[in-house]
């Protein structure tokens, strides 16, 4: 199969969907050249640097029958649009009794690794997971990117596509034909029997590297990639933990009230899963700090394959009795 980068897969999904549906148009603070070339200024709109305004405009246009894509570029840029995202986009369908759908795709890159410091590096998806009325996903491969982005564009709700900065240039196989990946369907990226690692985006790849290394010691690691954050595939996560009895959660965000906390709760509040847990759940997360600039500091903040390995060893050594 031919290979595309993560970023190319996203562009291909958007391009194919825009060819299919004339109601789709695109707003961002700079027009993406390949989109502009094919679709022109009528459908590819370069906006002033006013995320609040064009986020709100996407809501209004969606309520009038269009299917806007609002590209915030970096997720940190959308914080000036929080009223439009949280008070308007997320609530408007419910608050007005479901009168009309609001099909909107928001795009935002997340994560670190770029040495661009705190205002251009963040993984704040759990802030949005906490708001009812938004769907969201974070793919780890070009294949998942194209399939999930197409599902998002065809969804009749506001959907946020979180896209990992670290993975933009990473290649992988992507079919040329039209395919979609349903929301709420986790993907087991590697099967294993000793411990479950739930990871997102770049950390899926770090977890795969960790699993490969540990396999030489006879340790069998299962890697679950939830892919969509809302809706979240609880069953696949619980089934995996019930099988392995151990859970490590790897997240490029900090731990506090985060995605990792949600996964831990999903595992431990379910009686059947809790009964099978052989050790306390371990979270391998970024430090709870704004992301610093200097390379030494930045890499000190983020989890990586070595920390995932350490986390796996910890849950393998631990057991419930020892914890008690």
């Amino acid at each position: 199969m031919r290979e595309l980068t993560y970023n190319e897969a996203a562009l291909e999904a958007v391009t194919e969907e825009m060819r299919r549906d004339p109601k789709i148009f695109y707003m961002s603070t700079d027009a993406l050249p390949p989109l502009l070339k094919e679709f022109g200024e009528d459908r590819i709109k370069a906006t002033p640097i006013t995320e609040a305004a064009f986020t709100g405009m996407a809501i209004g246009a969606a309520g009038c029958g269009f299917r806007p894509i609002a590209d915030w570029r970096q997720v940190t840029f959308c914080f000036v649009a929080m009223d439009q995202i949280v008070n308007q986009a997320a609530k408007i369908h419910y608050m007005f009794g479901g009168q009309v759908p609001f099909p909107i795709l928001f795009r935002a890159s997340v994560g670190g690794g770029g040495l661009v410091a705190a205002q251009h590096s963040q993984s704040p998806y759990s802030m949005f997971m906490n708001v009812a009325g938004l769907k969201m996903f974070l793919p780890s491969t070009p294949y998942d990117m194209k399939g999930l982005l197409k599902t998002a564009i065809r969804d009749n709700n506001p959907v946020i596509s979180f896209e990992s900065s670290r993975l933009m240039g990473r290649k992988g196989p992507v079919p040329e034909d039209d395919y979609t990946i349903p929301f709420g369907q986790a993907d087991i990226k590697r099967e294993g029997s000793d411990v479950t690692v739930v990871a997102l985006a770049w950390l899926v790849h770090e977890a795969l590297a960790a699993a490969e290394e540990l396999s030489r010691e006879g340790i069998s690691v299962e890697i679950v990639d939830p892919r969509t954050l809302v809706p979240l595939d609880k069953d696949t996560i619980r089934n995996s933990v019930q099988k392995t009895g151990r859970l490590v959660i790897a997240d490029e965000a900090g731990p506090t009230a985060g995605f990792s906390a949600e996964i831990a709760a999903i595992a431990t509040e379910d009686a059947a899963t809790f009964a099978r847990l052989k050790a306390p759940v371990k979270r391998v997360c970024a430090l709870q700090v704004p992301i610093p600039y200097s390379p030494i500091l930045e890499s000190a903040v983020f989890p990586d394959r070595n920390r995932i390995i350490a986390g796996i060893r910890e849950v393998l050594a631990g057991n419930k009795a020892a914890a008690a």
């Binding site: 002033p48 609040a52 405009m57 209004g60 009038c64 419910y94 608050m95 007005f96 009812a132």
Partner: protein
């Protein structure tokens, strides 16, 4: 900045002028009843009354067609009624019933009727300006000559979305009317303490679009300004900022015991400028309205209103399990 204070009504038929009176009176009677029922405990949460400002919604909406779209504020009953919303479903929403516009999920601050181009009352000051600017963009892309109207207050004119959206609408020549209802107070705080300039309309110059100040209690002056702005918008000329100077007769909300720091003398002076009394007088002077005609209009309104109350009271409350409906669209 142009100034429009005269009231030529010649391009509106007598029937249309009486219809404007009927709409303004409907808004007033609806809110008088809503306030009473709120105080009787039949309506919950919070109610913001538009009484005293009726000429703005009716004057602007008279200049619109059915395909045009508007967005409103937390003080939204007047815009709903002027755009043609159904009083039964409005009152049922205030009563928190299943049959309300939002199935009891929204209440007074969130009434919407997308079917008539009413994109919703909005509880966040300046929250609707960007959304309706998106409706203006939609109208431009549809290419059918539609326009979109943002109603907002003097308070919202100091918030970011006002400036961001005026700039985009002016740059993209969106078919928009930005209608500032300057009632001189943002909740309890006087505009004089929060605005660098007395006229919001003066800000239009910064975006290269017309900014017009009108007497917001003169429905014909409002209509005339809106009509010109609609013509300009439909013909591709872009947006207009219309500032309607008006006054809210009641406190910020109907909640009892709220402070109202406004000068009673100021309020008395504005009561004498009642927009409904002014229109009534104009119609009588033109020989288009007499006592019997007015009684007939009032009778119709009270009949419709009583029917709306009866509809709301007879309607079921939502079921508890319906709290989880409509978070997402299918």
């Amino acid at each position: 900045m142009a100034l429009a204070t005269q009231s030529p009504s010649t391009n509106l038929s007598p029937d249309k002028q009486r219809e404007m009176l009927r709409q303004m009176l409907t808004i007033r009677r609806f809110e008088e009843r809503a306030s009473a029922d709120y105080n009787a405990g039949k309506i919950y949460g919070v109610v913001h009354c538009y009484i005293g400002e009726e000429a703005v919604a009716v004057g602007v909406c008279t200049a619109l067609g059915q395909g045009d779209r508007i967005i409103s504020t937390h003080r939204g009953h007047g815009h709903c009624i002027a755009k043609g919303a159904d009083l039964n479903r409005m009152m049922a929403e205030l009563y928190g019933r299943q049959t309300g516009y939002c199935k009891g999920k929204g209440g007074s601050m969130h009434i919407a009727d997308f079917g008539i181009g009413m994109l919703g009352a909005n509880g966040i000051v300046a929250g609707g300006i960007a959304i309706v600017t998106g409706a203006g963009l939609a109208a431009q892309m549809e290419g059918k000559g539609g326009v979109a109207v943002s109603f907002f207050g003097d308070g919202a004119s100091n918030a970011g979305p006002f400036h961001e959206c005026l700039n985009i609408a002016a740059t993209w020549k969106l078919p928009m009317l930005y209608v500032c209802e300057n009632n001189m107070y943002a909740a309890q705080t006087a505009a004089a303490k929060t605005h660098a300039l007395p006229d919001v309309a003066a800000r239009a110059a910064g975006y290269g679009i017309p900014g017009i100040v009108v007497d917001g209690n003169d429905v014909f002056a409002v209509y005339q300004a809106a009509n010109q702005a609609v013509d300009r918008a439909r013909s591709g000329g872009g947006p207009t900022l219309i500032e309607c100077k008006t006054y809210r007769w009641r406190a910020h909300t109907e909640r009892k015991g709220q402070p109202d720091p406004r000068d009673p003398g100021e309020r008395e002076a504005w009561l004498r400028k009642d927009p409904i009394a002014l229109l009534e007088r104009q119609l009588r002077e033109q020989g288009e309205l007499d006592d019997a005609g007015l009684r007939s209009i009032e009778g119709d309104i009270m009949g419709t209103l009583e029917a709306a109350i009866a509809f709301a009271e007879a309607s079921p409350f939502p079921l508890p399990e319906q709290a989880t409906d409509d978070v997402f669209s299918a």
